[in-house]
Each structure stands twice: as C-alpha cells, then as structure tokens.
C-alpha cells in the first residue's frame, strides 16, 4: 500500500448530461401550471412535490412569517380532506409527507410506493385552492408555529443569523427571518392567511415535480384531470426591491446565555445564475468543504482556534449573502479568528491557488450532484428548486429553470483561477460585509438569575 495524494482529473471536456437532468420532461398546462416529470424505474418509489414561488421574500413589515404559517395551514384540511385526513391518508398508504418554507419558496412533498403514488396528486390538487381556514384550527396552529419559532430563539446560531441578515439587508425582504418575528405572528389572523393564500396559491405560481417509478403518459393524464380545470390565478406582481449597495462595514453583537462564542461574516453576493456566481460557488467549496479545505486546515488544524467552520453560499432569486460561520474554542479571540478568515480571503484575491486544488473543488461539486441525489425525492427537490428560483429573464435561456442543472457543471468546470480572484476582489470587500459576534451575556447566567429569583419569591 502506498500513500497517494494524486488529484484525479476532472473530465471537463466531455461533460456528460448530468445524472440529475437525464430524462426530465417539462410542460406547462394551459392554466400556467409547470409540470416536471422524470420517469426512473430503479426503485419502486415515487416522489411528488409542489413548489409555490412565495416565501419570506414576498412578505411585508408587520406581516412577517405568513408564508411559513400558511405552509402549516395547508395540512389542516380542505373541503375534500377534512382535518387530519391528509396525514391519515398518507399514513394509510405507507407514505411520508412534509413541507418547508424559505426566502424564495414554499414546497410540499410526498413519497409513496409506486403502486399508490397518485394519492399525492389528489391531495395537492385539492389543497391548492380548497384549503379551509377554520378559526379554531388557526388558533391552535398559531401556537404550534410560535413553539417552532421559540426553538429558533433558543438556538445561538439562529439568533446570530437573524441579526446579521436583518442588518445586511435594510431594504430587501431578505431582512426578515422566514419563520417571522414573534410579534407579527401573534397578531396574524385567519383572514390574513386566507388572503395571502388567495394571492399566491394558483397554477400560474406553482411547479409540480414528479420523479420515480411511474408511467409518464398515465401520470400526465392524471395531472391534467386533477389540475387542468383550476383557474390560472392572478399574474404574480414582480417584486422590484433592490438592496442598495452597502456603503461601509456593519457590525453587530448579540448577547446570549452561551458558553461558546460564535462568529458570522456575511458579504452581499450575486443571485442564482449570475456569471460570477459559479466562481463564488467554487470559492465556497475551497473554503470549507472537507477536511482538506482552506479554513478547516487554517483554523481547526493549524491555529486550533475553533471547533468548526462553515461557509455557505446558497442560490436565491435575488442577491443574498455569502457567509462564514465559526464556533470558537474557549480562550480563542473572535477578532483573531475574524482576521484569520480575512487572511484566507486575501489568498484567494492574490490568486494563490493551484490547478490541483481548483480541480479538487470542481470534483467535489460534481460528485456531490450524484452523491446527494440518489433517491427520487432528492432529485425532485433539486429540480423544483431551480425551476422556482432560476426563472428570471436575465438568466441565459439554456440555464433557466431546471435547465440550470444541465449547464451548471459546464460553467463550474470553466471557472478559472483568475475568475475566482476577481470575484473575491469584487465581493469580499470591507464595505460589503456585515460581521456578527455572539458572546456570553453575563446577566443570563442561570445561577445568578436563579438565585435572585429564589430570593425574590
């Protein structure tokens, strides 16, 4: 056995159609519903998803958290599926269901064995327009959502993230946390929710994705049957809110009952499909994917100043944040870790990057597309996500919608050292960043308050 550190070559020249988009078909019904199907018979399972292009991005001051709350209400019943029936039907058929809401979208999913998967279509077609908003159901579900929000309030990372995003975006609704502000949630009414539903839940604002072991012709006929007669709904008004360029570094401090200090640095970064976004994606991987990544090597292995580091750059409809997170070891200093990260950023600006390291990052992205998408539901997630967020006309036509995934690897493989350096110089500037520190609040030490409280009562 010999030690090998050779770097496998990336097959950039003959990039095959990615595994994920092979055999995908897309059509749009006359009422505007986008339908994406991918028939694969490898496993006797079908995943069905519906994506609505509405999330906290579409929310307004004083009304935050509505998209997410609405997601909860869609499980509470329709004319055809009374309270509890959606879950009961899912369970009886041995399926699973859930949903999630984020900045740009709200998505619902089901996985069923292949001989009963059309149950999912029946439920989704019913709750697209026929969800009932019973007052008492609304009241109890409001408490559930408030509990979900409290879990977030107890999480140190959530607290810091909310503060940094709210600081970095003063104008764009990425300012709001998706779950909403507690006070907004408390004042929400069933009528508000119904109005919001009537505004966004229509075929024209939705994408249905079906992946797995089914017959395409049968499936499309059933889709036509169940969704074809639903009116298209209003044309969603485009959102023209642009976050103005940041004119100087912003810094925030969050105090919390925690023994561990945390750091979050966010830079405004380009939207999905932007020509610079591919170089930024490679930079994300270079910084923190795997133990050989730059920040792991520098901060965990060499400086030994932190326990973990994570760098995230997610694709969103509008420009969002490219952000760095680090959890400090006791005795380390936030300011030193912050400077070390700037050091590593500077290396990228200086184009201090070998071809082998670049190839490694590209290979990680390519392999991840396969390794993270073995099951139909994972594939449906990816297809639906890009169909929903990569729809803007500024995105080249061959990369628009789910086709983003068809061209993504080619574009990633085309990224050069110079492009990474120039993107780093363009986006990772002092003026463009928001830095958040999470520190221990001595006033919330439970031993102090516990004693005081005992004394007072």
């Amino acid at each position: 056995m010999t030690a090998t550190t050779s770097i496998p070559s990336v097959e950039a020249a003959s990039n095959p159609i990615p595994f994920i988009t092979r055999d995908v078909r897309k059509l749009v019904l006359p009422n505007g519903l986008t339908v994406i199907v991918k028939e694969v018979h490898a496993k006797p399972v079908v995943a069905t998803m519906i994506w609505y292009r509405v999330g906290s991005r579409n929310e307004e001051l004083g009304q935050t958290g509505k998209s997410h709350f609405l997601e909860h209400m869609l499980f509470k019943g329709t004319d055809r599926y009374p309270k509890g029936a959606i879950d009961l039907t899912t369970q009886l058929n041995g399926g699973m269901n859930n949903a999630f809401t984020w900045l740009d979208f709200t998505a619902y999913y089901f996985s069923f064995a292949a001989d009963r998967w059309q149950t999912a279509l029946e439920i989704e077609s019913s709750r697209m327009r026929d969800t009932t908003f019973a007052e008492d159901e609304f009241a109890s579900e409001k408490q559930v959502v408030e509990e979900e929000l409290r879990i977030g309030l107890d999480g140190p990372w959530e607290a810091l993230e909310n503060e940094v995003w709210a600081t970095a975006f003063r104008q764009h609704p990425y300012h709001f946390p998706t779950v909403g502000w507690l006070e907004d949630l408390e004042s929400a009414t069933a009528a508000d929710m119904k109005a919001y539903y009537d505004r966004w839940y229509h075929p024209r604002n939705a994408t249905l994705v079906i992946v797995g072991d089914f017959d395409t012709r049968d499936a499309l006929a059933r889709v036509e049957d169940l969704f074809g007669s639903i009116p298209p709904g209003p044309v969603p008004k485009p959102l023209n809110i642009v976050e103005p360029p940041q004119r100087g570094e912003k810094r925030v401090i969050v105090k919390k009952e925690t023994p561990v200090e945390r750091l979050l640095i966010g830079y405004h970064a380009p939207a999905v499909g932007h020509p610079d976004s591919y170089a930024m994606r490679v930079a994300e991987v270079l910084f923190s994917t795997g133990k050989s990544s730059r920040l792991y090597q520098r901060l965990v292995d060499q400086d030994k100043s932190i326990t973990s580091v994570n760098v995230s750059y997610h694709d969103h409809i509008d420009p969002s944040l490219f952000y760095f997170q680090a959890e400090l070891k006791p005795g380390s200093e936030l300011s030193k870790v912050e400077l070390a990260i700037y050091d590593e950023i500077q290396r990228l600006k200086n184009a201090d990057l070998t071809g082998a390291e670049l190839a490694k990052a590209k290979r990680l992205i390519e392999a991840d597309l396969v390794l993270s998408n073995e099951e139909p539901l994972q594939q449906a997630m990816l297809l639906g996500q890009y169909e929903t967020i990569a729809n803007d006309e500024r995105i080249p036509e061959d990369s628009r919608g789910f086709r983003y995934l068809e061209t993504m690897l080619d574009r990633i493989n085309g990224v050069t050292v110079e492009e990474i350096a120039s993107s780093a110089i363009k986006y990772f500037t002092e003026d463009n960043r928001t830095v958040g520190y999470l520190i221990e609040d001595p006033n919330t030490d439970p031993r102090n308050t516990g004693k005081e409280d005992d004394g007072g009562s």
């Binding site: 009886l92 509990e147 959890e327 006791p330 390794l371």
Partner: protein, 438 residues
Amino acid sequence: MVVSRKAAAVRLAVERLVLPNGLVVLISENHSSPSMSISAIVRAGSRFESDDQAGLASLTAELIEEGTTTRTSRQLAETIDSAGGHLMTFGDYQSSRLAVVALSRDFDLGLELASDLLMNAVFPPDKVRQQIDRRIAQLKSRLDVPRTQASDLFNETVFKGSPQHRPPVGYEATVTELSRPAIHAFYQRYYVPNNTVLAIAGDVDAKETIARAESVLGEWLRSDFVAPSVAYPGLSGGPVEKYSTALKEQVNIFMGHVGIERKDPDYHSLLVMDTILGSSPGFTSRIPRVLRDEQGLAYSTYANITSSSGLDPGRFVAYIGTAPSNLERARDGLRGEIERIVEEGVTEEELEIAKSYLTGSFVLRFQRNGQVAEFMLEAEIYNLGFDYLEKYPELIRAVTVDDVNRVTRKHIHPERLTTVVVGPIDEAGHVIDKEGAS
C-alpha cells in the same frame, strides 16, 4: 372502517462472506446511481468504557482518520476530498463506525482508505491533543441545545448504574484525562477483524468486490478478543422527577423509563404501539395529534420505545418542548396519554392504520446506498437474516389488538416514570418569572 393497503414488496440480494480472519463482508449491488457506500461497524462503543474513561470510544473512532502508518491526516483528507467523496468516522453507544461515500469509479480508493483506517491508525500525539481540546469545546457548545441537556439528564437518571447513563461523547472531566495510550489500547483491543462487519452497497460488482476485500483486508490479524460484560439497567421503583434550570424560551420535558432490547420478542408489537402512541409521520398518532394538533402545545412532541432498542435495553421516552406557561398542561398531557394507552389499550382501527403505515412505508427506507448498507449491518448485528425484508410485512400483519395491549401493559409503566424538565424553572420545578429575572 379503514381498509389497509397491501404492502409494497422489498427484496434485497445480499452476498455474505466471512474471511478466514473472521471479518464479515456484506455486499448488495444496486446500479441505479453511479455511487457506492462502504460502511464498517466495529462492535465496541461507550458501553465498553468505564465511568472514568467516558468518551474514549468516540474519541478513538474520530482519531482513526487522523493518521495511519502510511498517510498523514492531511493526506487522508486530500485523498478523499480529491475524489469528491466523503469519509466519516464516529463512535456511539454500542459501536464504532466508519463510512465512505463516493462515486463508484472510486471504489478501490474507498476500500483502501477504509482498510487503512481500520488496520493502521497511529494516533499521532499532536492530533490526540488537538482532538481532546476540540472535544472539550464541543461538549460546551452541545449544552447550548436545551433538548440535549434534558436528554442527557434523563439518561443519567434512568440508566443509573449502567453505561448508558453517560453520553457517548463523555464529560469534560473524563475527556481531559484521556491519553494516547488508552486510545491506542482501545483500538488494539477492539478494532480487530473478528469484531468487525463491513457492508458495501451500490454500483459495484459483487464478485470483484469480494476479491478486492480479500486482498485488502485478508492480512488483518485476528485476535482472541472477548467482549466485556455490560451492567444491565434496572427499572426505577417509583416515579422520579428532576428539574434543571436553563434560561431559554422553551421548557424541554423527557418522560419515561428503561425500555427493551432489539431481540425482545415483543419488538414488532411494540413497533405498532409506538406508531399508535407517538411515532407516526405527520400528526396521526395520539401524542402529536392531541398535544400538537389539537392543543397547539408544541412543535415537536413524540414517544417511542423501539427506536432506541439495541444490544442493551433502550429507553421508553416521551418528549415535548413547549412554552414555560404550558409546562403543567404539557406534562400532564404526556402522562395522560401514556396512562390511557396502558389502561384503555388501542382500537382495531388504530391498529389497522399503524400496520398499513409500517408495511407500506418499508420500501421508502431502502432508497439510498447508505440505507441499504445500514440495513445489512443491522441484520448482521441482530441476527435478523437477510430475508427479514420479505418477512417483515408478515411480522407486522400478524400483530393483533390483544398483542399490542398485552405488550403495552408489560413494557410501559406509568407508575415508574422518570420526568426530567429543563428550562426557565427553579429546582422545585416552578417557572422563573421572566420579569423577575434580571
């Protein structure tokens, strides 16, 4: 009346071979994705640790990827990252684990890395020091999660006297004292072929894989290893209540007692009970339906006894996280549902729904290579047989209302519940007034 659906059939072809050194190799081919998963389980975890060495097994497992006789930590990381794959090692209560997930074209590389870690780890002193320091910091940040705090306190109370009362990650005081010789000795003693099972699933050729495994792992030396005995946890005599202060938005409540072993003959009836009481998807089972859906008390609430069953008895546990003002309703609600299922039993309709779900959803659990590898390991460890997938629907279908009611009365003891509450409360369990706290 509910009509349950016929189960979707699941079949899995598994090749099993035992090398002369005792290593068990399990292989299942699946060519639907150009990827594969290699998982190894070493049958030693924190259950073999002594109290003063808490954290030893998990630390050892994490350290096997920090250097071998021929590769430095950095080289190991570069090798797997350059293939675009992932390598994970960790230790839990009953086992130490290694997993390589990669494209199938990198199978040879993956197997070579896995073998290297299992056979040739060297535990460089600087890496040992670094990992211990890092673990101590992680132990602090772990307690930032109130649910984890509450779960730890619950285990500490319920499993008193058996190794399960400790978190597998150990404590600051014990981890600080761990040394390289102790870690190396744990590795020498337990990481031996006759204590290891290797499972490979995905886009591989079974025949070639066997040949590769024989050539790479055949030289691994067998040892005359004897598994230590493990203290058995006893049920507490009566109810126990524990309160711990954490100034958070929610109170986290764990309620329960010692559970069952995986080999318990009542396992499948209890699986049905779990599905009816507190572990169905969505909110159809009793606890989520009543406490979440009807009363709006929680986002997360559940109960089960089978999920933690293993070589040793797991825990019967009910959980809820709620606002401090709901503390009493939530606690009474959980206890009420536990008492009700023991006293009143379940209905024919609930039974049919649960069985229909369990049999129908089984197919969803084998979609990824990692899941298939996991099943093969479980089947091997618990002697389930690889035809368990075909037998499973029958085992579930055979369960009757009487079975569920009988096993519920036998295994669930409302009069012996331990209740642990962590949140903004004082030592007597009273909610601390937020305004009063400065």
